[in-house]
Structures are given as C-alpha cells and as structure tokens.
C-alpha cells in the first residue's frame, strides 16, 4: 500500500535531519587538528615550510605567503608537469590542480592556498596535505 503524503513528508524531513546530524557528527569526529602539513608523504611544520620556500605576493588580491611551485620543488617532487596536485583542508575540502596552477599559487601564513588564475573555490583553508598524484 502506498504511503500517504501526511506520513511520507514528515518521514522525509526526519530522514533529512538524521542525514544532516549524522554528517555533522562524522565531520566533527574526523576533523584533523594539526599544525603540520604533509607534502608528498612528508610532514612539515608551517615554520619549516616558510623557511625553505621563497615568498610570493599577489598585490591585486592582497595576499602574500610562499610560492607553491617553489615549495613543491623544494620538497623533492620530480617531473613536476607529469603530476597533478590535490590540496586538502582540515575539513576534508579538497581540490586538484595542475602544475600550471601551482606556478600561480601561494600558501599564506595561516595555511590557505590562493591561486591568481583560479576562482575563490580554490582558496583552501587550513591545508593539511598536498598529495602528488
């Protein structure tokens, strides 16, 4: 027998609330809290990263930090153009970019990526990992 709307709609609302609450609990328990950034499998502190890579400023966007391309080179990644780079934030937000994008990117002191050639969606906050794929 088909369920009437008067039962189906409140049930759907309850399912929606359960999905939202379940996802919130999952996000809360799995959120990574670390001051380190893992690049190509190796862990670095923000201070270490800022010591090894050269600085970069985007005057128009009003952001400064370290050059992402220099950072990737200094962490020992070979054949830079052969790879793509997945940048992951502490909330699980992640975006994959090319070497061409990396060359126009920087990492701010508070751990956010900014790319001069990509939209704001690529500003990943609290970066915890840069995967070379």
């Amino acid at each position: 027998m088909l369920m009437g709307k008067e039962k189906l709609i409140p049930l759907a609302a309850m399912i929606v609330i359960l999905i939202g609450a379940g996802a919130s609990a999952y996000v809360y328990t799995t959120q990574t809290a670390t001051d380190n950034i893992t690049i190509n499998g190796q862990q670095y502190t923000i201070d270490q990263i800022f010591n090894i890579a050269e600085s970069r400023t985007f005057d128009l966007l009003n952001f400064s930090g370290i050059a992402l391309d220099d950072l990737v080179i200094k962490t020992g990644v070979g054949c830079l153009e052969c790879h793509e780079y997945t940048i992951i934030g502490d909330d699980g937000y992640q975006k994959t970019v090319t070497w061409e994008n990396i060359k126009k990117g920087l990492l701010t002191k508070d751990g956010m990526t900014v790319f001069s050639d990509l939209p704001k969606a690529y500003r990943i906050k609290n970066v915890v990992k840069i995967e070379v794929i």
């Binding site: 709307k5 759907a12 609302a13 609450a21 996802a23 992951i88 975006k95 994008n101 969606a121």
Partner: protein, 217 residues
C-alpha cells in the same frame, strides 16, 4: 490568471532573489554569518514559496531561478559567476520537482508538522543540490577538470552544512503561509504593473550600478 500578470510576478520575485544573492548575500558573508544558508533558506525558499502561495502556479519558481541567475551574471564577483548563476537556477528547478505533486490549494499542508516538514525537505534539497552543482561546475569552468573523489571527500561537509539550512527552511515556509489569504487578483492592474516594474528595475539597476562601482574602484 492573466499570463502577463504571472510574467510580471516571475520577473519581480526573480529580480528580488537575484538582488539578494548579489547585494545582501555578500554583506551577510562579510558580517561573518553563513550567507549560503541564509540565501537559500530565507531568500530563495521564502520568495519561491511566496510565489507559489500568491499565484498558485507551477513553473513560476523555475522562471524565478532563471531571472535570479541571469541577474547574478551581471555581478561578476565572488568566484565562478556562471556556476553561481546555474546553481541559483537549479534551486528553482529542485523546488519545482519537490513541490510538483503538492496541490496548488495546499490542502495537504493544513498542519504545522506538514508545513515544517516541507520546509526542511525543500531547504535541505535546494541547499545541498545547489552546493553539489557548484562543486561540479567550478572545476570544469576553471579548466582544472572535475574530480569525483574531491566531491566525495567533501560530501560529509556538504550534508552537514545543509542541516542549518534545513532548520531555517523549516521556519521560513510555515512563516510564508501568513500570506495564504492574500489574493493577488484583488490588486488592481494600475497598481500591480507599475509596482512590479519599478521594483524589478530598481533591483537590476542596483546590481549593475554596484558592479560598475566595484570595477571602477
């Protein structure tokens, strides 16, 4: 109801929605509030529900989404503009799909539980749907390519953020029902058309002027 009256209704409510997305949304974001949630659950859902109650017509909400999305194109700030415009139009489409089987006299929504439930389901679906569409389209437009694994990894966050949108939507839709006894047909044409035209024009002029002002500074 006259087609012209419906058309004017789509334009004015869609323009108000677009105005909210372009002008009010960034201001809410700058104030540190969750602008995406408020935009979808209060403005988008509120205006679409208002159109459904006042005009009692299907299809209007998709039209409003297209008008609002078009207005968003004239405000080229805040990330991928085309993606935002498409996501806004998609919210209109999602609303239409959810409300398609509901009667136009709202006889199913007599109790507060039903109104609240529809608010929760509609706001959550529109918010999550719009968010997912933006996440798919932005990498495509940015030419980095779309990676499904990036979306999957972020899905728990999207589903979690939708919870607040759902709760706010559960308040918005029952609130809009205060307009249920207002009959739009009682508004005289000589008042209706100049008012809708003036409000629509004001929204478009405000958004375009704001864009020119930002580009100029």
């Amino acid at each position: 109801m006259e087609k012209m009256k419906l058309f004017a209704g789509i334009i004015v409510l869609g323009s108000l929605w677009g105005f909210a997305e372009c002008i009010i949304g960034p201001a809410i974001g700058d104030a540190g509030l969750p602008s995406g949630t408020i935009m979808t659950s209060v403005f988008a859902i509120g205006l679409m529900m208002m159109s459904r109650i006042l005009f009692k017509q299907r299809g209007m909400q998709l039209g409003m989404g297209l008008v609002a999305g078009s207005l968003r194109l004239f405000n080229p700030f805040g990330g991928c503009v085309v993606c935002s415009a498409i996501a806004i139009a998609a919210e209109g489409l999602i609303f239409e799909i959810i409300w398609y089987k509901m009667s136009l006299d709202f006889r199913e929504l007599k109790t507060i539980t039903m109104k609240l439930s529809m608010g929760i389901v509609t706001a959550y679906s529109c918010y999550v749907g719009g968010y997912i569409i933006t996440q798919i389209l932005t990498p495509m437009v940015a030419s980095t390519g779309f990676y499904v694994e990036n979306l999957i990894a972020f899905m728990p966050q999207i589903l979690a953020r939708g919870l607040l949108a759902a709760i706010v939507g559960g308040i918005t839709i029952p609130s809009i029902f205060v307009l249920k006894n207002f009959n739009i047909n009682n508004v005289k044409d000589r008042v209706y058309y100049p008012t809708t035209a003036a409000i629509s024009l004001l929204c478009w002029v405000a958004v375009i002027t704001n864009a020119i002002f930002i580009i100029g500074t």
